[in-house]
């Protein structure tokens, strides 16, 4: 089969100037405020986000958290009240009208909707050809062939001449993905793409997404389904219009979003040089540390001669045993060798209150504490 999608492996993408990484999406202080009779309502409260090329990113959040609004900002469907949105290196809300943005969108990103949004009067093949017509991409006679190949890619070669009403919902969504890839855009944005599908169909759709990511496409997907977030490179949580620190969400995934957000807001960043002592044995513990970058060694004794009980990496945490059980530090924690360690420092009182309000987190932490104590005793 002829290659119909351009292949852009992450490594081949030249890094963005100064950043060292090539970002597909950069948002700076994105604010969105809606006005209605009841007054003003801030849906997005200054979102700063970067998504690298070739990443498969999921965005999750409760209903009304602002996840779809954020997606609308990325796709250029809605205007931010303030802030800057750079997609594929283009500032899409600066010097660009609605109509120009539509044209830009046709060429540079594909959108997959929850309700598929295929045009009911066009066959699947025609639906896939439509973006090529609007973007005026590829020779007119080349378009049907390309559309057929895209439908083959999503397993719809036999359904090409059918109207959307004549195929299953899973097939409709597959066709919608084929349509989104019609102009071979580097970015695909999906809003609850599996929200309306049975699990078998949903699985197929995610397989297609994974296939696309393998080919270097960037995919940003809003979803409610936790089974899908596990299959993405990154999971971004949004709560009340603000992003939750990914270290917080990864370290304490069972917390309620509002607690995660509270921690995100209250936690302070601290950096420790390689080998630097973070926690001394016998010392009182006041904070919980969430490891953002680097690794730490947990040791039985203070000083250099102590045995390393455990090595904690990114998204691990320490200090919870003492905070939950009370008393002094039962082990020493020191920054690993090689590179500095960055931690998020959460106030112990806040941590205890939050754990108290989140029984499942308390239960999970209890098991972790138990395991770590057992490990300590055995050593």
């Amino acid at each position: 089969m002829r290659e119909i999608l351009s292949v852009a492996p992450i490594a081949s993408v030249s890094p963005a100037e100064g950043a060292g990484v090539s970002y597909m999406i950069e948002t700076h202080e994105i604010v969105k405020t809606y006005k209605n009779a009841a007054g003003e309502f801030e849906v997005l409260k200054g979102i700063d986000l970067t998504i690298e090329r070739g990443q498969f990113v999921s965005i999750v959040g409760k209903s009304g958290s602002g996840k779809s609004t954020l997606l609308n900002m990325i796709t250029g469907i809605d205007h931010p009240t303030a802030g800057q949105m750079i997609v594929g290196g283009v500032d899409i809300y600066h010097n660009m009208g609605e109509s120009q943005r539509s044209r830009w969108r046709g060429k540079n990103l594909g959108i997959v909707f929850q309700f598929f949004q295929l045009l009911p009067m066009l066959t699947l093949l025609e639906n896939v050809m439509l973006p090529m017509d609007y973007a005026d991409m590829y020779d007119f006679d080349e378009r049907p062939g390309r559309a057929k190949e895209l439908l083959n890619l999503v397993g719809l070669e036999k359904e090409a001449s059918k109207l959307p009403a004549a195929v299953s919902t899973g097939q409709q969504q597959a066709a919608a993905i084929a349509r989104a890839m019609a102009c071979d855009p580097p970015l695909l944005v999906a809003d609850e793409p599996t929200g309306n599908l049975d699990s078998k169909s949903a699985d197929k759709i995610i397989e297609v997404f994974e296939h696309l990511v393998e080919r270097g496409k960037t995919i940003v997907m809003v979803t409610h389904d936790p089974s899908l977030t596990s299959r993405t490179h990154r999971n971004i949580i949004i709560s009340d219009g603000e992003l939750i620190n990914e270290t917080v969400s990864r370290s304490l995934p069972l917390l309620r979003h509002r607690h995660m957000l509270e921690i995100t807001k209250k936690a302070t960043r601290k950096t420790f040089q390689p080998g630097e002592v973070i926690l001394k044995c016998g010392q009182g513990v006041k904070d919980l540390h969430l490891i953002v970058r680097g690794s730490v060694n947990v040791m039985k004794k203070n000083g250099n001669g102590g045995k390393v009980l455990a090595r904690l990496n990114e998204n691990d945490f320490f200090g919870e045993i003492e905070l939950l059980r009370g008393g002094e530090a039962i082990a020493c924690v020191r920054a690993g060798d090689g590179s500095p360690v960055e931690t998020l420092v959460v106030n112990g009182e806040d941590f205890l209150r939050i754990v108290k309000e989140s029984p499942i987190t308390a239960e999970a932490l209890g098991k972790i504490v138990e395991a770590r104590l057992k490990q300590n005793l055995e050593s």
């Binding site: 469907i77 009067m121 017509d133 009403a165």
Partner: protein, 813 residues
């Protein structure tokens, strides 16, 4: 007082979406306005024309006689059955505004006593209504023909060539004299004391009389007139021609009736068109309200309550439409009536509310929306909660898991897609945005049908009007073959053919000359009673200056004796007339029996016409080789050249002492007749424009509703890369596709419409059916117009579609 929530919702629905309310109200108002204009104008014209005509006391009997005196007039005044009788002297005279070079023939009527005017009353318009000695008052119509104004001085050319001047002191309206005669010269009025100044005899030559009873019984009037005429002639008077009329029947009543008939048909049509517009708009509104209905039912509302709510909503739309359209319709009716009245020289009795029109408007304004909206309202009220709250969007795409039913693909959708696939297999790929336009066109088929009905009717009428116009003009063109001569010369005295030929051939440009005779007579019934005046023209039988449109029989021949070809007007009295039949006529005061050799078409309104050979008539008039009338052929035939040659011949002949009465371009009288036709054509064009407007409004409404319903789809196209132009192109293309389909249908429908309208108009104007002609012009103009209209009708909805933000239409959260 607190209003129940459901009625509060009705009030809210009424004012919530102002654009939608305006569209519905406007759809209703168009029909109400149109029917108001038409019904009002119908009543005003039908009533006021006869009333204003009768108010001027038109003469029932008009006798054109050889000069007579007061004694004869007195005998008429005292005749049994005569109410009033007035004597006047009426004569033709050439006049022009001082300083102008263009002469116009006026009919100058001298009144004995303006103060005591009892018959054919003059209505003052401007200045003095009663001229003093050596002053002239013009009839309204003459004002335009002479291009004079009150205060101007007119020059009158007397038979001896001398010029007299008189000031124009006033303008009057005379609805009776000359009414109904498009070819009549315009009238002007002088005092009898001015006659001598114009070298005219101070006697009368016309009698205008009213009957004391049965003024609207033409048979009675005719019988009394015939009796009067016989008795006058017994007393030594000589009646040249007689004319009879009913008191309340305007001479143009048949034309006006045709106009009113067309108006009525148009009114009914517009109500139909408007109701289709209303049905479309209301069904779209109900569709938008399906969710509301679902919620109402979900919380316990019953179908009956929903039905009542929406019926009240529709009634409210109707009331709003009435508030707008009733006053406007009243003004429109009056305006249209005034227009028709001014064109046909009668007066309307002033602005007033026409109860009949008001009742019809209220019925149309309230009932038509109710009837048109009933089906969608009942359908809406019956919708189940599940159907209602799942909404159409969900039904489209969630068919399987939502309702458990598969919506499937309709046969029509299948055919459409198959067709496109078939084309694609043959290498013909239609751009997808255009495929969307094409398939969208057929998605709401009942709406499409109603829109097509409106637009097709508008188009068919529009095209038909142009065909009728050409038909009329072609007929006039055919009639012009009765007027082939370039210049017509009428003399006061007869001249020898040879002498006149020698004289006029000296004028450069004159190619040929023919002498014609003319005798005035009457067509009689088998008992010898006068039926109607008969003008018998007598050209040489072999003349090439007349090409008749023969319906039956043959044209005249040189050896015909007491034989003539007669116009179709004779069918009025002899419906079965055929060549070879004999009819009684009164020629030169003698009752004779003549044989009809042929029957030809002419403008029957111009009276009954017959042609007999010069060879025979010149013998009966004892004027062999002589003639009063000469027809001249020049080397060029344009109207301006004819006018120039008429002027030259006029000067040339008068200089040489010939007693010339009048010289005018051969087609002059024809042009006046054509001008009068333009009134009708203008009227028909107004009608075409009205239907076109209603049609385009229908299309605008449809496109507006289509766009409104497809906002989601438009949002999708924007989301996948359609810019403003692409969105607009798709919407406009849909409008144009509808326009083109309607054009195709209008082409077909225009054929019966052309025949129907031509028949109505030709019967009204010519009193004879005429051959129908078709012109590409109406088709071409309508094609251009329908393309422009459909594009314009789609532009506003398309712009709205293009400016919607995608977030609005896709409504994510």
């Amino acid at each position: 007082m607190t209003i129940r929530p459901r009625w509060r919702k009705v009030i809210h629905d009424l004012f919530d979406n102002k654009a939608r309310t305006l569209l519905v109200v406007f759809s209703i108002a168009v029909g109400v306005f149109s029917i108001g204009v038409i019904a009002g104008a119908f009543v005003i014209i039908a009533n006021d024309m006869s009333e204003s005509y009768a108010a001027n006391v038109p003469a029932n009997i008009e006798l054109r006689m050889v000069d007579f005196d007061d004694a004869t007039l007195e005998s008429v005044q005292n005749y049994h059955g005569i109410e009033e009788a007035e004597g006047r002297r009426v004569f033709s005279i050439r006049a022009r505004v001082q300083g102008s070079t263009k002469w116009t023939v006026l009919e100058l009527a001298a009144f004995d006593d303006f103060e005591d005017n009892q018959v054919n009353l003059l209505m003052p318009i401007e200045g003095k209504a009663i001229p003093g000695k050596r002053e002239v008052v013009l009839e309204r119509d003459a004002l335009n023909r002479v291009h004079a104004d009150v205060g101007d001085v007119l020059e009158f050319q007397l038979p001896d060539g001398s010029i007299k001047t008189m000031p124009v002191v006033g303008v009057v309206q005379d609805t009776a004299m000359g009414a109904g005669d498009f070819l009549a010269s315009p009238y002007a009025y002088i005092d009898q004391n001015t006659l001598q100044f114009l070298q005219e005899s101070p006697t009368y030559n016309r009698v205008y009389a009213t009957v004391s009873e049965n003024g609207d019984d033409i048979e009675y009037v005719r019988a009394l007139g015939a009796e009067l005429k016989t008795d006058l002639e017994k007393g030594g008077a000589y009646v040249i021609r007689s004319r009879f009329a009913e008191t309340h029947l305007h001479p143009l009543a048949t034309t006006v009736n045709a106009i009113l008939g067309i108006l009525l048909a148009l009114g009914i049509l517009i109500v139909f068109l408007s109701s289709s517009l209303i049905a479309n708009t209301l069904s779209a509104l109900l569709q938008q309200h399906t969710r509301h209905i679902g919620v109402i039912k979900l919380i316990g509302g019953r179908s009956r309550q929903v039905l009542a709510m929406y019926l009240v909503l529709i009634m409210s739309f109707g009331i709003l439409a009435l508030a707008i359209a009733v006053p406007l319709g009243g003004q429109g009716a009056y305006g249209l009536a005034v227009f028709v009245a001014s064109e046909l020289n009668f007066n309307v009795l002033g602005y007033r509310i026409i109860p009949l029109a008001l009742i019809i408007q209220i019925l149309v304004g309230l009932l038509v929306p109710l009837i048109a909206g009933l089906a969608p309202v009942i359908g809406g009220a019956r919708v189940t909660v599940v159907e209602a709250i799942s909404g159409e969007a969900a039904r489209d795409e969630m068919s399987r898991q939502g309702s458990g039913k598969k919506r499937g693909v309709s046969r029509w959708e299948w055919i459409q897609t198959r067709f496109t696939i078939l084309l694609a297999k043959r290498g013909i790929h239609i751009p997808r945005p255009f495929v969307i336009s094409l398939r969208n066109t057929f998605r709401r088929r009942s709406r499409l049908l109603l829109t097509l009905f409106t637009l097709t009717m508008g188009g068919a009428i529009f095209i038909a009007v142009f065909n009728v116009r050409v038909t009329l003009h072609d007929y006039i063109g055919a009639i012009s073959h009765y007027f082939v001569a370039d210049v017509s010369l009428d003399f006061e005295v007869p001249y020898r053919l040879h002498e006149m030929e020698q004289a006029v051939m000296q004028v450069p440009g004159v190619v040929r000359v023919e002498g014609w005779q003319f005798v005035s007579g009457e067509l009689l019934d088998p008992e010898g009673n006068a039926l109607e005046n008969l003008n018998i023209f007598a050209p040489p039988a072999e003349s090439e200056l007349i090409v008749p449109i023969l319906v039956k029989g043959r044209w005249i021949q040189p050896d015909d004796v007491r034989k003539f070809a007669i116009s179709e007007a004779a069918y009025k009295y002899y419906p079965n007339l055929a060549p070879g039949d004999f009819v009684k006529v009164n020629v030169l005061g003698k009752e004779e029996t003549w044989e009809v050799v042929g029957i030809f078409k002419f403008v029957d309104r111009e009276g009954m016409l017959a042609y007999a050979p010069y060879e025979y008539i010149s013998q009966t008039t004892n004027l062999a080789n002589q003639a009063y009338m000469f027809r001249i052929v020049t080397d060029r035939h344009t109207r301006s050249y004819q006018d120039m040659k008429a002027e030259e011949l006029d000067a040339f002949l008068r200089e040489r002492g010939y007693k010339l009465h009048n010289a005018e371009a051969g087609s002059a009288s024809l042009d006046i007749a054509v001008e009068s036709l333009d009134i009708l054509v203008t009227f028909l064009l107004i009608m075409a424009a009205l239907t076109a407007i209603v049609g385009s409004m229908g299309l605008t409404g449809t496109m507006g509703m289509n766009v409104l319903e497809r906002t989601r789809e438009i949002g999708i196209t924007r989301a996948i890369g359609a810019d403003d132009r692409a969105v607009m192109r798709t919407v406009i293309a849909e409008g144009v596709v509808i326009g083109m389909i309607s054009f195709g249908l209008a082409i077909i429908l225009s054929i019966p419409f052309t025949y129907m309208l031509s028949t109505i108009v030709s019967m009204a104007v010519f009193e004879t059916p005429i051959e129908v002609h078709f012109t590409w012009m109406g088709y071409a103009i309508w094609l251009g117009l329908v393309l422009a209209l459909s594009a314009v009708a789609s532009i506003v909805p398309a712009r709205n579609a293009a400016t919607m933000t995608i977030r609005e239409v896709l409504a994510y959260e």
